[in-house]
């Protein structure tokens, strides 16, 4: 297989990954949304379930982050530098970039 054909095949695989993630996340989100609608306010079991369902919702945001990483990989495979306009860098690699606490501190130090 030529390198060009290999890149095309890799892009197709990445497209399939993207689609499979989206389909799975849709099912997970729908189940969580339906579960949250059934909870009863004030009930102790419902409070535990609410925490669990919210944790699932929070975790499914991985699709956004991984989606942006996939876009970056696709651009690299196509030989193009990832599209960057202005300050749009996308998610940082683990260990790089500010965490929430550091962001809060920085935000409080900068005048608007």
């Amino acid at each position: 297989m030529s390198s060009e054909a290999g890149i095309v095949a890799a892009l197709e695989e990445l497209g399939a990954v993207r689609a499979e993630i989206a389909a799975a996340v849709d099912v997970i989100l729908s189940a969580s949304e339906e579960g949250l609608l059934l909870l009863t306010a004030g009930d102790q079991a419902s409070q535990v379930l609410q925490t669990s369902f919210c944790a699932i919702l929070e975790a499914t945001s991985f699709q956004d982050i991984t989606g942006q990483r996939l876009t970056r990989i696709e651009a690299l495979l196509q030989g193009a530098a990832p599209a960057r306009e202005g300050l749009e860098n996308g998610p940082a690699l683990p260990g790089a970039g500010l965490r929430q606490a550091a962001t809060d501190t920085l935000l409080s130090q900068v005048d608007d």
């Binding site: 919210c54 919702l57 300050l87 996308g90 500010l98 929430q100 900068v110």
Partner: protein, 169 residues
């Protein structure tokens, strides 16, 4: 600063009511009332219109569900800054939660447009983004963002930032 102002306005409202009841003792109530802390804060109106802007449908669904868990019930959404701006021009909103990385108009461009419009200049605006560079946070702050949430985030973090911007939920 916004929270302090909100508390002060709330205190003035209470003062007006009490002065009406006690006549000449209003000055005494002024001293007592302003020394109190959070119990006189105005409650957040959770029926306010909230606009969630993100190009990922998944993120819109997540933020919408989490906001609903916090009691907000009127939530609109847009997939990019330009669409959001159209919605903002046609309806009164109390809060915008926006992603940064969108096309054709980014979240930062949306923020600048919101701050440039007299009608929306003071609209609470929270950036919810995976952009974690110092330059991004500084640029957003200088453009007038009220708070900045790093993706991925939890319900607790969202609640904390909403409280910081709007007051106790």
């Amino acid at each position: 600063m916004l929270k302090e102002l909100r508390a002060f306005v709330g205190n003035l409202g209470n003062l007006r009511k009490r002065v009406g009841n006690v006549g000449n003792h209003g000055a005494t109530f002024l001293r007592l009332n302003l020394s109190r802390k959070s119990e006189d804060h105005m409650p957040v109106d959770k029926t306010m219109n909230v606009l969630v802007v993100d190009d990922y449908k998944t993120m819109i669904r997540i933020v919408r569900s989490l906001l609903q868990q916090l009691g907000f019930c009127n939530i609109d959404d847009a997939a990019d800054g330009a669409t959001a701006l159209e919605l903002l021009r046609g309806k009164t909103y109390g809060l915008v939660l926006s992603d940064w990385n969108m096309q054709p108009m980014s979240g930062l461009e949306l923020l600048k447009a919101v701050r440039a419009d007299e009608r929306t200049r003071a609209l609470p605006f929270i950036m919810v983004t995976a952009e974690t560079k110092t330059e991004n946070v500084v640029a957003a702050r200088q453009a007038g963002v009220n708070n900045y949430v790093i993706k991925p985030f939890t319900l607790a973090v969202l609640k904390q930032k909403l409280t910081a911007v709007l007051g106790e939920l």
